[in-house]
């Protein structure tokens, strides 16, 4: 199983969720966060390097079985990119998920995703 974590633009949330639903991925956890990627805005202010401000972002966490990984990533990639791919569009991180347990039933593993 994989844990897919995507950092996207807040304004893309609706589109990405729709794309995921279309790909039959409905289970998702969403967190408000803030971030800075390519540090395009390291301003110089009177000789001082300004820590660039953090921009609001949205973090998606999706646990999925291995075969769904690519589908999920593709759905996100398709929907989260801004018109011509601008800086700030975000990242997708994939980590290995060792266990997954459904609290309601106690089920474990792939079926609990």
């Amino acid at each position: 199983m994989k844990l897919i974590t995507a950092i996207i633009r807040p304004e893309k949330l609706d589109e990405v969720r729709q794309a995921l639903i279309n790909a039959e991925i409905t289970r998702i956890t969403v967190t408000r966060c803030a971030g800075r990627g390519q540090a395009e805005h390291v301003d110089i202010y009177r000789g001082l390097e300004v820590a660039p401000a953090l921009a609001p972002k949205i973090r998606l966490d999706i646990a999925c079985n291995d075969d769904f990984k690519q589908i999920t990533v593709d759905a996100i990639l398709g929907a989260a990119r801004s018109e011509d791919g601008e800086i700030g569009d975000g990242k997708i991180f994939v980590t290995h998920l060792e266990e997954c347990i459904r609290i309601r039933t106690g089920e474990e593993g792939g079926s609990a995703i």
């Binding site: 893309k12 966060c33 803030a34 401000a53 953090l54 018109e83």
Partner: protein, 425 residues
């Protein structure tokens, strides 16, 4: 008659020693003036109140943009009203449709004027100005979350000039309906016209992207509730101030306002309690508003029983209207028509049956007056709005493009975020 003359002089001297006027013009009544000044402040309070009410109901990304609609109405209409609005609404009538009075342009000729009721005309002009401000601010709720700021600014400026000022003139300022229809504090001029304008604009502009597929949650019902509280308080100025005195009629208007608001709120949570087994805070405050809107045209002319009834009917009809809207599926974002339009119409018409004094022409005659008053407001507002929305859309542009709408007004139009605290910075 010498004695009487002496008496009059003595009275004048005693009472008005501080004012410099000759005894020919009306003298200032400090009490009435005090209440009208207060009313003006109270109605002004309705603008932040409305900004909070509306602002809390939209999605987080649009909170500032929505509040800006109310606040910029203060700025824009505040200036226009000074320049020519007051003149257009309360100047000498031109064919019963609109007023004009060189003396009232830039309020230049009223600097020393005391009106009949004993208040400086400035105060009356400012009190009325607040109504001119709040009406477009109310409309804004109908197309919240999807219009350009520039387009909105142009729209409300034109709407004020072409729809509001003439309408105010027609009903209050000496125009062709003045005196016939009962509209104590602006049920038709303000609420019906705003409600209809909202409906027309919402239909013309189309729904928000994603509506109704995507759930759109209010960003802060807490703020909405507080806003409703301020609106209630401000409405005392709105209605009781419309008596333009500080006396019996004022007290009547204040009492009816209070009673109808309470009844409206109670009715709405009862409806919800019966239908959903849950009373919501949004329901309660919607009921407050519906009650307040319904009593607005009637505040000075009905008895408590009437106020209770109008409050309840306002909530009932508004509730029904919103339910029906959900069926139709057009997107009146914050239910401007459902609440202001519907409760306003209900109030303006139903008040006929609760009047304190039998109307001079009889019930039926009065009903005709009321219906035609409402009709004029609907017609004027619908036609004017349609024209203006179209015009603005074709020129400066009104509806936001998809990218900026999805990104949210705050970021894309104003370059800001409403709740910086959410951002761990």
């Amino acid at each position: 008659m010498n004695v009487i003359h002496l008496i009059m002089t003595a009275v004048m001297v005693t009472l008005f020693a501080s004012t410099a006027h000759a005894s020919g013009t009306p003298e200032v009544d400090s009490g009435t003036t005090a209440w009208m000044l207060t009313s003006t402040a109270l109605v002004l309070l309705m603008i932040p109140g409305l900004a909070m009410f509306y602002g809390g109901l939209v999605r987080t990304k649009n909170v500032l943009g929505t509040m800006m609609h109310s606040f910029s109405a203060m700025a824009i209409i505040g200036v226009i009203w000074t320049i020519c609005g007051y003149s257009m609404a309360f100047g000498d009538t031109i064919g019963g449709v609109v007023g004009w009075d060189a003396d009232k342009v830039l309020l230049s000729g009223i600097d020393q004027t005391i009106m009949e009721g004993g208040i400086p005309e400035y105060v009356f002009a400012m009190f009325q100005g607040k109504f001119a401000i709040i009406t477009p601010a109310i409309i804004a709720g109908a197309f919240a979350e999807r219009v350009k700021f520039r387009g909105y600014c142009v729209f409300i400026a034109l709407w004020s000039l072409i729809v509001y000022n003439p309408l105010a003139h027609i009903v209050w300022g000496g125009g062709f309906l003045t005196g016939d229809a009962i509209d104590f504090a602006g049920g038709t001029v303000i609420h019906v016209s705003a409600g209809v304008a909202g409906l027309v604009a919402a239909l013309y502009l189309g729904a928000r992207r994603g509506y109704p597929r995507v759930a759109m949650h209010p960003n802060s019902l807490v703020m909405t509730m507080i806003g409703a509280g301020l609106l209630w308080v401000g409405w005392f100025g709105f209605n009781a101030g419309s008596s333009v005195e500080s006396g019996l009629k004022t007290g009547q208007a204040l009492a009816m306002t209070q009673i109808a608001a309470a009844a409206g709120a109670l009715a709405w949570i009862c409806i919800e309690g019966v239908l959903h087994k849950k009373a919501t805070s949004l329901g309660l405050v919607s009921g407050i508003l519906a009650g307040l809107v319904a009593i607005t045209p009637a505040a000075g002319d009905v008895l408590p029983v009437g106020a209770i009834s109008l409050g309840i009917l306002g909530s009932l009809f508004s509730y029904a209207a919103i339910t029906i809207k959900n069926r139709f599926g057009y997107d009146d974002t914050l239910d401007v028509f459902g609440i202001h339009g519907v409760a306003g119409i209900v109030g303006a018409i139903v008040l006929t049956f609760f009047l304190r004094d039998e109307p001079t022409g009889g019930l039926v005659q009065q009903l005709v007056h009321q219906v035609s008053g409402v009709g004029v407001a609907i017609a004027a507002s619908a036609i004017g709005t349609l024209l203006l929305v179209w015009l603005v859309d074709k020129t400066v542009g009104f509806k936001l493009d998809e990218r900026r709408e999805l990104a949210g007004l705050d970021h894309s139009l104003h370059g800001e975020h409403g709740y910086g605290m959410l951002n761990p910075n």
